[in-house]
């Protein structure tokens, strides 16, 4: 158990350092908060929506797949430590284990569970062209339908992008920054 002692000492030191420096900055720093400072940072725009409650489901999916792989790695470590003693039997076992993992992995990949990016579309008819309006150089904003067609990547870019195209509801509005 004594082996743990140095880690405990270092952990206490590190935690103490973090606490003390946070406390020191609170004592030393100025303190005059106002509502503009404490509003969520949105690059200077007054936020008109609550922070996102949901984000793309793919992040959950990746976390769940990761759990499987992490457990697999946990199985591999004891095997790797004992590999000298196990010899070819250990290798045979690990080959069998890897095949089982690989089959599951290939199933995931072929189901598209690990695909993220913009979908490559093979049929050009699907793509709505006319990117530029006549003489203007302003890019035409695609209609919601076009967005749904998967031309623009939606995953990961903004959690509330696929929401209804109508304006956000009024009660969500954060009070304007007019002070207390």
């Amino acid at each position: 158990m004594a082996q743990y002692l140095p880690i405990v000492v270092l952990m206490v030191l590190a935690t103490g350092f973090a606490f003390v420096s946070l406390l020191a900055s609170r004592i030393l720093g100025p303190k005059n908060p106002n509502s503009a400072k404490s509003a969520p940072y949105e690059c200077g725009i007054v936020p008109n929506r609550q922070p996102a409650q949901r984000f793309p489901v793919r992040f959950y999916l990746v976390a769940m797949i990761f759990v499987i792989f992490d457990i697999e790695i946990i199985f591999i470590y004891p095997w790797a430590v004992m590999y000298h003693q196990l010899g070819t039997f250990g290798l045979a076992e690990m080959v069998a284990f890897s095949i089982a993992v690989l089959v599951a992995f290939l199933y995931l990949i072929s189901g598209g569970a690990l695909d993220w990016g913009p979908v490559k579309r093979l049929s050009p008819a699907e793509i709505i062209t006319r990117p530029y309006t006549g003489s203007a150089t302003i890019r035409r904003v695609p209609r919601p339908e076009a967005l749904l067609a998967g031309i623009e990547p939606m995953e990961g870019s903004a959690p509330d992008a696929p929401a209804a195209p109508s304006a956000p509801a009024e009660p969500d509005r954060v009070p304007a920054t007019t002070g207390h």
Binding site: Q3, M11, P40, Y41, H84, G112
Partner: protein
């Protein structure tokens, strides 16, 4: 016998005192090395971009990071209106403590005698050394995730979910490439892994004029995978999507100011230093190197190799553009994880020394690679069909 000889005679006051002194030394060394690393990075990047870099505070700007840190003490600590206060304050601590602890398992070389007590130049040498490192890198995800979530703001949340997905994805590849090293060393003691890399490389009863570092013993590929995975794990460029300024305005720490921000910054650079140390230990023989004037100078070689890695990370940052998120995830899941699993089997097969097994495993790997390619194309097709059906449903609505 691996393990720190300091504890062979049980625990008494002198041992406890030595432990405390060692912990304080590690703490100070890590902190100072971070201050140095920040300055080093700014200086090197400055010169790579035809600028001078910091040159005002102290000789050659060497006190710049200290000055910046001191300044942050005197800045206002803001609390966002929508923040979950407790978790918001806890998150920087959760980020910085694991960063400190990783360095405790890195062996710097040899043993030292303090007041008749022999101890390693390494804070601890537990039988679960590498597992401890993996555990800490998992805990580091919490600091980032909770920081983004508790800020109650849009961009930090996006940065945090990106960060946690990225970090856990590359953790799998990292764990598998370390397993290849563990197969060779047969131990999770970091000191045993480092000391197992002495001398020259042997291959099929021949001596190859290369050091017997795990870099060569594992056929280089696990090292490359490990480097990529560690870079992604630390969210250093080119994998710094976590803090992509253009898209998510600084990422998970956008709502932090003053020392809260400083602690995240500290943790990030501390991870660069400590993970470079871990890389040197795992793949580059740790303190292994030729003797100079008849003395074994392990710490010197260790620091030299560490510097090579610190420079490499700065170099990567100055050179490479940032990945796109889908490219990042594809690289992690579809390339690195199968490649590291394959290399693990290959290294294990070579280790048995039987030609039949090596050829058998290699044939298996080729078959596996072909199956993977097939699965990738099927997967792309599936996604395409799904997207088309969603589009059709949208048009009908």
């Amino acid at each position: 016998m691996p393990g720190d000889p300091l504890f062979n005679n049980g625990l008494n006051l002198a041992v406890a005192l030595i432990v405390i002194i060692k912990a304080i030394i590690v703490f100070v060394v890590v902190l100072v090395s971070v201050l140095f690393m920040v300055m080093f990075e700014r200086k090197v990047i400055g010169h790579m971009q035809n600028r001078i870099g910091p040159n005002r505070a102290g000789p050659f700007g060497s006190l710049q990071s200290l000055a910046d840190g001191t300044k942050l003490f005197f800045k206002e600590a803001l609390l966002p209106a929508k923040a979950d206060k407790r978790i918001y304050r806890l998150a920087p601590i959760l980020a910085v403590v694991p960063a400190f602890l990783v360095f405790s398992i890195v062996p710097i070389g040899g043993t030292i005698t303090i007041a008749h007590h022999v101890t390693r130049l390494q804070l601890v040498d537990p039988p679960w050394g590498i597992l401890f490192m993996l555990m800490l890198s998992s805990i580091a995800v919490y600091g980032v995730m909770l920081a983004g979530w508790s800020s109650g703001s849009k961009y930090p949340l996006l940065g945090a979910v990106r960060a946690s997905a990225q970090m856990i994805s590359y953790e799998a590849a990292m764990g598998l490439s370390i397993a290849a090293v563990v197969v060779l060393s047969g131990s999770l003691h970091t000191s045993a892994i480092a000391s197992g890399q002495h001398g020259l490389l042997h291959f099929r009863n021949h001596t190859v004029p290369l050091p017997a570092w795990n870099l060569f013993r594992t056929w280089v590929v696990p090292f490359i995978i490990f480097m990529i995975a560690v870079t992604a794990e630390m969210h250093r460029p080119p994998f710094d999507l976590v803090e992509a300024e253009e898209e998510i305005a600084g990422g998970f720490n956008a709502e932090y100011s003053s020392l809260g921000f400083a602690l995240f910054y500290l943790a990030e650079f501390m991870n660069v230093v400590t993970m470079s140390g871990v890389t040197v230990t795992l793949f580059l023989g740790g303190p292994d190197g030729p003797r100079i004037l008849g003395h074994s100078v392990g710490p010197f070689w260790f620091v030299l190799k560490l510097f090579a890695f610190l420079y490499t990370y700065v170099w990567l940052r100055a050179t490479l553009p940032r990945f796109r998120y889908d490219q990042l995830m594809d690289l992690g899941w579809k390339r690195l994880i199968p490649a590291s699993l394959g290399m693990l089997l290959f290294v294990a097969a070579v280790r048995t020394g039987s030609r039949g097994w090596v050829i058998g495993v290699m044939v298996g790997l080729v078959v596996g690679a072909i199956a993977l390619m097939r699965a990738l194309s099927v997967g792309a097709r599936t996604t395409e069909v799904e997207a088309a059906s969603i589009a059709r449903a949208g048009r009908r609505a």
